[in-house]
């Protein structure tokens, strides 16, 4: 019981031991993708498969946001015809996906990362440059 922390408790009480930054992966161009390489600092805290699964899901969500499909073309043409004023009224496709991503990260934090003393920061808060993983001090280790 001492090992699991709730997200609120962690933020209020725990001290930050370290921060790990997952950088962007540019091998496919400028689309938003993050490196799936498992950082060594997290080896003691979380399962490699679990972590890579999280990053891969995030990558898929970002790819979906930036996908060039017929829907995005139609939206783009319609926006152009209205002199792009639709952007003031409508929520764009990208914004909808960002909300999905925020929800997914929240869910992952609550279920998987917070119990292990970790916290994922939504990349949008870091300008889509990095996924910041905060490692909290694990007081339960002193047994």
């Amino acid at each position: 019981m001492a090992e699991t922390h709730s997200l609120q408790d962690m933020r209020q009480q725990a001290a930050i031991a370290a921060k790990v930054f997952i950088q962007r992966d540019y091998t496919n161009g400028t689309v938003c993708q993050f490196q799936t390489k498992f950082p060594s600092e997290l080896e003691t805290r979380i399962d490699k498969q679990q972590f890579e699964e999280t990053v891969r899901t995030l990558n898929n969500l970002y790819a979906e946001a930036e996908k060039l499909g017929s829907q995005s073309y139609i939206e783009g043409c319609l926006a152009c015809l209205t002199a792009y004023t639709v952007f003031l009224c409508m929520e764009t496709h990208y914004e909808k996906i960002l909300k999905k991503i925020a929800k997914y990260i929240q869910e992952q934090n609550d279920k998987i990362y917070a119990p292990r003393g970790l916290l994922l920061t939504d990349p949008i808060e870091r300008g889509l440059r990095v996924i910041e993983v905060t490692i909290f001090e694990d007081r339960s280790l002193t047994r």
């Binding site: 921060k19 540019y26 002199a83 496709h93």
Partner: protein, 486 residues
């Protein structure tokens, strides 16, 4: 009791450290009174939560509580707006009545639609975040520093740090930005005028008063295309109008006397249409080959050094390139201007150590020769404009309604343009010596671009012949645009 009151203050909760009283003050009662006063003052004025735009480190100005963003130097945006409004106004007043009577009533309708398109897209280009990358947080910067192998050399300026990545089997070098403390993503460049890294940086356009980057390139492209249509349309209509009036042996002079506004329009349109058409053609080529002005000027993908380099971002298909640049999903703004700062970060601005990085940033950037040359040429105008235009704080700007309706975007702009336009007309009269500068709108951008030798296209450029220069460049580009893609 008194001791308890100020022992309750947690020094860590205060953003600024309380100044320690000087040791030579022996009077303890005075110190206690000072501390009590300070605590009471802090209790009476609860710190209001700040929005992120208020502590934004770049050189930008914000209006409407962060909804509108412009570069600090508005450049010649008021001139651009003024010219468009004046020319279109004269067109509707002088030419439309005659043409409606003698030709068709579609003419003011078409003119009106084009005019609305031009103004809306211009304002969107100017007021939209071009794709600014927020600066790295201190933790991120420290992490990157750890990864870079610092040999600790004693030279004043550390060597430029680069990182190589493989993009679509093409080696691309990513440079480290000393101002923003991060490795710039591919196609990102740091604009020295705005002091920001901008994604897919095209150029800093003084005519529009903002950088042109990933998020507002489509607005910019629509603006110049619709402006070229509008200019050509007005030019054609004015010519038709004057020709009809001069019929029956009356002569051109008679026609001009009857409709003096048309003479002004004719001159403005004649000098602008070539450069704007040239610019539209140039940008159509860039869109079709998925290049930015920055890359084209630097010749990043033209293989000038004999290497086998191709544009790794191009989809090798003109249609897909056009769609990916103009019709892709609109990326979000990364700087979150209207978000609230967390209480503990209210003092963090990230711009503390700037004396070295600004030098490095400026010299590293081969970024906007267009913009800087244009700015140098309009330097006579800009000091007047920058002092007369409203500054960044929202208290001085036109108060906007809170609801983000389309009116919010258009409401402050007439205020800005009328406020600046009045000052501007005074300055333009005094600046009579280079008349062509005020009349040729985007020719400066184009001419500056032409000055840089583009080894891919050995088109001889003569800046003195405006009609042949941009035209031939555009033709040269158009002709060559199909070659490298197949």
């Amino acid at each position: 009791m008194k001791n308890c009151e100020y022992q309750q203050i947690d020094p860590q909760a205060l953003p600024t450290p309380t100044p320690t009283p000087p040791p030579h003050q022996g009077n303890d009662i005075d110190e206690e009174e000072k501390k009590k006063k300070k605590k009471k003052k802090e209790e009476k004025e609860p710190k209001r939560p700040k929005r992120k735009w208020e502590v934004f480190p770049g050189k930008n100005r914000f209006y409407c509580d962060g909804r509108i963003i412009v570069a600090r130097q508005s450049g010649v945006l008021p001139l651009t707006l003024g010219l468009i409004l004046v020319t279109s106004g004269l067109f509707f007043i002088f030419d439309c009545p005659f043409l409606v009577k003698h030709l068709t009533s579609c003419i003011p309708v078409i003119g009106g639609v084009l005019f609305v398109f031009v103004v809306i897209t211009l304002l969107q280009t100017s007021f939209t975040d071009p794709g600014i990358l927020p600066r790295a947080t201190p933790d991120e910067a420290a992490d990157i520093e750890k990864q870079i192998d610092n040999t600790g050399n004693t030279s004043y300026r550390p060597p430029p740090r680069t990182k190589e990545v493989l993009i679509n089997q093409q080696v691309v070098k990513l440079k480290y930005c000393f101002t923003c403390k991060m490795f710039r993503p591919p196609r990102t460049s740091h604009c020295s005028l705005c002091d920001n890294c901008v994604e897919r940086f095209d150029h800093h356009c003084p005519w529009v008063g903002n950088c042109v980057g990933k998020r507002n390139y489509r607005f910019f492209y629509t603006f110049i295309v619709s402006l070229s249509f509008l200019t050509a349309f007005i030019f054609g209509c004015v010519t038709t109008h004057l020709a009809l009036r001069a019929q029956g042996g009356k002569g051109l002079v008679f026609a001009l006397q009857e409709s003096p506004g048309s003479a002004v329009e004719l001159v403005i349109c004649f000098f602008s249409v070539w450069s704007i058409l040239g610019l539209s053609g140039f940008h159509t080529y860039l869109v079709a080959s998925n290049l930015t002005t920055n890359e084209d000027i630097k010749g990043s993908w033209s293989g000038k050094s004999g290497e086998d380099v191709t544009n790794p971002y191009s989809h090798r298909n003109i249609f897909i390139n056009c769609c990916s640049v103009l019709c892709a999903p609109m990326p979000p703004s990364l700087i979150d201007r209207r978000g609230f700062l967390p209480a503990d970060e209210s003092a963090q601005t990230g711009g503390t150590d700037i004396e070295l990085p600004t030098l490095a940033a400026k010299s590293e950037i081969n970024v906007c020769t267009q913009g800087t040359k244009g700015l140098l040429e309009s330097a006579a105008l800009s000091p007047l404009l920058s002092t007369s235009c409203p500054q960044g704080k929202p208290q001085t700007a036109h108060p906007c309604p809170d609801s983000s309706s389309p009116a919010a975007n258009s409401d402050p702009s007439p205020e800005l343009s009328t406020g600046c336009g009045a000052h501007h007309t005074a300055s333009s009269h005094g600046d009579a010596s280079p008349p062509r500068h005020t009349k040729t709108r985007s020719k400066k951008c184009k001419r500056a671009a032409l000055h840089i030798p583009n080894p891919a296209f050995d088109v001889p450029v003569s800046p003195t012949s405006p009609d042949t220069g941009p035209g031939s460049k555009a033709r040269g580009h158009k002709g060559a645009s199909f070659a490298p893609l197949h």
